[in-house]
Symmetry: C2
C-alpha cells in the first residue's frame, strides 16, 4: 500500500498523526526557505510543506526539484495550517513532510490540469488521460457511474433481470448503417454490431424472461452530427404482459427515482402530451416545457387582411416573448438574421411590440389594426411588455423553424435552467413517416412497433395517419427515452414488413427467426430504451454528452488518442478473405 | 396490466379472492368433465381448473382447445385444492377459472419445455427462446444477474468506479487474433474489437481514476475449443498506488463476499502457492485443491534400480489414488488406455497396489523390491488400500499428463463436489514463455506485466527464469481471475517490447499512446480480470459456461438461431471499400 490516507480526508482530527499520501503534484510554491506543494489524487488535495528549519537539507533539495504532475509518495506529520483555506475539506491542515519518494516524473503537460484548462478540444482528446485528471471530467465520469448504479439497483429491485445479449449479430439493412465484422471462420460472411438489442430482447420476452434490462453499448455507422458517437450506451428494457400504461408507470418511477436520489428533485406525475399536440404547441416532438412561448395558430386572425405574404401560406403561427417589447430594432434584426441562417432557413419574421403602456407597434402596421394585433396578443398569450414573433409558410417547416427560434430565445433569456427538471411523456407517435428520397414509408420508431388498434383500418387508406403505441420520454427538451408496445403475432408483423417495402424473402431472411418465434406462444410485450449518455449529461446539467464518455471519438469517428481506426496487415486481410477496394 | 398476480405467489392466504393471471400452458389434463391446466410464468406454476358443474359450456369448450405453450390470460377464484402438491409454493390452491382469454396460440414446440428436455443441443440453440423458458436455463440467467449485481455493489461500495471503455479500438497483432471492423468514413482503415480493455484501464490509472472496474464484453477471434466463445464477459479491474498484496486482499474480499452471499460458504484466508509449487505438486497452474493426490517426485527412489524406462527420463512422478488398490486389472488397463489417448498422449502407467493387508503388488515387481515400493508409498502419501500410479518422461509433458489423470480420477471418484469451494492464489508466474513455433519468447500474461525486481538481471542471462508480479485466482481447478502489477515507466515498457521482438517502430505504432502516457506522471498500478462467464458457471456448480450465456454461439462461431454471420449486400461492401477474396 502506497498510502495510509487519501488526499481528500485528512483534517484537524488527524492532527499530530503520521500519515502517508501518494498523488500528483498539482502546484508548487517555492520560497527557497519554504516549499509548499498541493498534492492531488482522485479524492482531493492536501497541502504539503517542506521548510528549512524543520526539514533536512537533502529533503529541501529534493522538494525543489519537483515538477508539475510528478507522482510522489510522502510521509509526514499532520499539522495545523496558519492560514486556513475554508473552501476545501483539508483546508485546515498541512503535512510537514519527513520523507519524499518520487514514484514517477512527468514531462510538462500540454495543458493545465485545473478546473478550467487552457487546452483546446483536440489537445484534450489526444491526451485524454491527462484531461481525466481534471476535476470537471473526472467528476462527470464518477457521476455516470453513480447514475448507472442507481438504474441497476432500482430495476433489479423491481424484478428486472439484466441479460447480456450478443454483440456479434446479423446485419439488417433497415434503419441506420451497421458496423460489420468479417468472419475468418465463415468465409465471405460478416457479423454486424447491434444498433440495439431490439430483436434479442423481444426473443427474451418470448422466452418468458418477463422483465429484462441491460445497460449496453450500441453501434451506428452514421455520418456523425455534432454530439453523436458511433458507439453509445442504452438502458434497454422490455416487459411482457404489459400495456402502454404499465410501461409509462414503471419508467416514470425509475426517472422519478433518479431525479430524487441524484438531484434531490421531487416530481410527482409527469405530464403527458400527444405527438400532434407537441407539434402544434411547440413545433417539436421533444419540447422543453421549462418555459412557455407556446405556439398560437394565427391563421384565422392574420389571413385575409390584405397581407399577401400570409394569405398564401399554409400556416401563420406566433409566440409571445416575455418582456421583449423593449428590444431595439437592432436586436430584432439580429433575430431576423438568426432565423434566416441556412441552419434554420426561414424567410423572415413579423414582429409586434406590445408595449408596457399598452400600445402596439409592428412590422406590419400597414396591414393590421391595433385591434387585429391585440387579437394576436390574446391568442399568443402576450402581455404588455412582450414581443410577439410570427412566422408563416408550409406547416411542417414553419413549425420546425419557429421551434428553433423558441429554443434559441429560451437559451438567450436564461429560461433553460439546468438545475430545473421538466420531464414529459409524448404519446401517440405516427407509425410511419414518408421518406421523400426513397418515395416510401419508413417505420418512425422501428418495424416492430404496433399500430393502435383503432387506426389499423387507416393503413389501407391513409398510412401516414396511423398512430402507433409508441412513446418518448422527454427531459428538458431532449428525448431521453423512447419505446413502444410491440407486435407479437406473425401475421401483423409480416403485414408490417410488407407495408415497409420488404419482399417476403427479405423479411424471412432478415427477421425470419423473430417471426418463427412469434409462432410459439409470444406474449404481448413492449419496452423502452433510454439514451444513457444523454440522460447522464442532462442529469449532470449539461447538453453535450462528450465529457460524460471516458474516451469519446471525434466527428470523423476517430479516437485521436490511440489513433484508430488504422490500417491492417495484408496478412490479417488475407485471413479474413478480404481485399481493399481503393 | 395483464395480471393481478404472478404464477408463483398465490397460496391459501389468497383463498376466495378473484385473481388474474397470464402465462404459458405448461400441461393440460382433460378428463372431459374437468380440465386442469398448469399455467407457467417466470415466477412459477399455478394450477387452473375448469369443470362442467361450475364453468359455462363455452368456457369448457375453449379450455378444451388449449394446446401446449399457448399464451393465456385467466380470471378466476382462488380455491383450496383437494389433492395438494407440497413441492411447489402454490401447491395448496388452484384457480377456478371464470374467464379465459387466449392471447396467442403456439405451434407444438420442437422439444419439451420441462426441467429435463428431449431436445438435443442443436435444436435447443436454434430455438433458444424456447429453451430459455425451461427452468434450468432461465434460472442460470437469473443467477448470472444476481452475481453481477453483487459484484457491482461490492466494488462500488469499495470505492471502485465503473467506467465504460470503447469497443471500437485499434488492432494489435500481439496476443490472440482481433475481430476487426472496417471503417466507412476512414477508407482502408479498420477498428478492432477489444480482447480486453487492458490499455484503457491503464490509461485511466494514468488519468488518476485510481480504482476502476467494468463488467464488459471482450472478443477473441480464436479457433474455438470446446466451451470457448468468441465474445465473453470479464470483470475488469485496475487500481493505482497498490502493490500485489493490496490487489490480492481486495479481490480475495470480493470473492469471499460472493461465496458467502451467493453460496453461503464461509472461507477465511485463501491459500497461496507459487507457480513453481503448483506445477511440481499438481502439474497444473490451476490446481483443484478440493482433493489430494499430490505429485511425488520419485526420481531418487525409482531411478538407477535397473528399470531402464525410468532411468532415461527426466522426471519420474507418482500419485496415490485413495482406496483404489482394489481396482481390477481391467480397471487399471482402462486407466492406461485413458492416458494413452492422443488427447493425453502418455506412453503408459506404472502401477503399485498397496493392498489393505500391507502387501504390495506392482507392474514393475521385477525391478523393485517391496521396500522400494514402500518408499514410493511413503513419498506419495499412499496408505494401505491405495493405488500408486507413476509416469515418467520429459518434465513439462509428464506433469501435464499426470495432471490430466489426476483430474480424471478426481471426477471418477466423486472428489470434485460442485457445492464445495476451494479458492487458491497462484503467484509468481514466469514473465516469459518460450514459443517453439516462432522461436522466441512471448509474454505469458501480457506485455504490460512487470518483472519481479530481484529477477530483472536474469532478463539478460536466463529470460525464461524471470518471475513476474503476476497472479491467478483459481477456484475448483479453474482459473477464474488473473492479473499483474504493471510496468508504469516508459523505459521498462520499451525494454519489454524489445525482449518480445517488437521493433521500435512497431512498438511505437501499436502502443505509442501508452508509452507517451507513461511520460506524464504514471502512478504504480496493477489489476486483475475475472472471467465472468466461468465464475458464474462455477458458482452455479457447473463447469460449462454455455448455459449461463443467453445466446451463445456454436463451435464454428455461429449463432444458429439468427443465422449469423451472413453475407453482405454488394452495396454494403462497396461503401466499406472492400472486396471479397474468395
Amino acid at each position: 500500500m502506497y498510502r495510509s490516507h487519501t488526499c481528500g480526508e485528512i483534517n484537524l482530527t488527524n492532527k499530530d498523526q503520521e500519515v502517508q499520501l501518494s498523488g500528483w503534484v498539482q502546484k508548487i510554491r517555492n520560497k527557497g526557505f519554504m516549499v509548499w506543494v498541493d498534492l492531488r489524487d482522485r479524492y482531493g488535495i492536501t497541502q504539503l510543506i517542506f521548510d528549512e528549519e524543520r526539514s533536512s537539507k537533502g529533503l529541501m533539495e529534493k522538494a525543489g526539484k519537483l515538477g508539475r504532475e510528478f507522482v510522489i509518495q510522502v510521509t509526514g506529520e499532520v499539522i495545523e495550517r496558519e492560514s486556513k483555506n475554508p473552501n476545501i475539506p483539508t483546508g485546515e491542515i498541512e503535512i510537514l513532510v519527513s520523507q519524499l519518494n518520487i514514484l514517477n516524473t512527468s514531462l510538462t503537460p500540454p495543458f493545465t490540469i485545473e478546473e478550467e484548462t487552457d487546452g483546446g478540444e483536440d489537445l484534450r482528446m489526444k491526451y485524454r488521460y491527462l484531461d481525466i485528471r481534471r476535476n470537471p471530467v473526472k467528476n462527470k465520469l464518477m457521476f455516470r457511474h453513480k447514475v448507472g448504479m442507481h438504474v441497476r439497483n432500482y430495476l433489479s429491485q423491481a424484478g428486472f433481470i439484466e441479460v447480456e445479449t450478443p454483440y456479434l449479430i446479423k446485419s439488417t439493412p433497415e434503419g441506420a448503417r451497421d458496423f460489420v465484422v468479417p468472419s475468418r471462420m465463415n468465409e465471405g460472411q460478416f457479423y454486424a454490431l447491434p444498433q440495439s438489442p431490439q430483436t434479442f430482447k423481444q426473443l427474451l420476452m418470448v422466452g418468458g424472461m418477463d422483465k429484462y434490462f441491460q445497460i449496453v453499448k450500441c453501434f451506428r455507422d452514421e455520418d456523425l452530427r455534432a454530439d453523436r458517437q458511433p458507439e453509445f450506451t442504452q438502458i434497454d428494457c422490455e416487459m411482457a404482459f404489459v400495456e402502454q400504461e404499465d410501461i409509462l408507470n414503471i419508467f416514470e418511477g425509475l426517472t422519478r427515482h433518479l431525479l430524487k436520489e441524484i438531484k434531490g428533485v421531487d416530481i410527482s406525475d409527469f405530464p403527458r402530451m400527444t405527438y400532434a399536440e407537441a407539434m402544434a404547441k411547440y413545433g417539436n416532438d421533444k419540447p422543453d416545457i421549462r418555459f412557455g412561448m407556446e405556439f398560437a395558430n394565427l391563421n384565422k386572425l392574420a389571413k385575409d387582411k390584405g397581407f399577401n405574404v400570409f394569405d398564401q401560406q399554409e400556416l401563420v403561427v406566433g409566440i409571445a416573448v416575455p418582456g421583449a417589447a423593449s428590444y431595439t430594432r437592432k436586436e430584432i434584426d439580429k433575430l431576423i438574421d438568426w432565423v434566416k441562417r441556412p441552419q434554420v432557413g426561414a424567410n423572415g419574421l413579423v414582429w409586434v411590440k406590445y408595449n408596457e403602456d399598452g400600445s402596439l407597434k409592428s412590422s406590419v402596421d400597414k396591414f393590421y389594426s391595433s385591434e387585429d394585433l391585440l387579437g394576436w396578443a390574446k391568442e399568443t398569450g402576450a402581455k404588455a411588455g412582450d414581443l410577439i414573433l410570427v412566422m408563416a409558410g408550409d406547416t411542417t417547416k414553419t413549425r420546425t423553424q419557429l421551434s428553433a427560434l423558441r429554443m434559441h430565445l429560451g437559451n438567450e433569456l436564461g429560461l433553460r435552467n439546468p438545475e430545473e427538471f421538466a420531464p414529459l411523456w409524448v404519446l401517440d407517435f405516427p407509425l410511419l413517416e414518408w421518406d421523400e428520397e426513397t418515395q416510401r414509408y419508413h417505420a418512425m420508431h422501428h418495424p416492430f412497433t404496433s399500430p393502435k388498434k383503432e387506426d389499423i383500418a387507416l393503413l389501407e387508406t391513409n398510412p401516414g395517419e396511423v398512430r402507433a403505441n409508441a412513446y418518448d420520454l422527454v427531459l428538458n427538451g431532449n428525448e431521453i427515452g423512447g419505446g413502444s408496445i410491440r407486435i407479437h403475432d406473425k401475421k401483423t408483423q409480416s403485414r408490417m414488413f410488407d407495408y415497409l417495402g420488404f419482399t417476403e424473402e427479405e423479411a424471412k431472411e432478415q427477421f425470419g427467426f423473430l417471426m418463427d418465434a412469434f409462432q410459439y406462444g409470444a406474449p404481448p410485450h413492449g419496452g423502452i430504451a433510454f439514451g444513457f449518455d444523454r440522460l447522464v449529461a442532462i442529469l449532470g446539467g449539461q447538453e453535450t454528452i462528450r465529457d460524460f464518455i471516458a474516451f469519446p471519438k471525434n466527428n470523423a469517428g476517430r479516437d485521436v488518442m490511440i489513433d484508430a481506426p488504422a490500417k491492417l496487415d495484408e496478412e490479417q486481410l488475407k485471413e479474413l478473405h478480404l481485399k481493399l477496394r481503393l
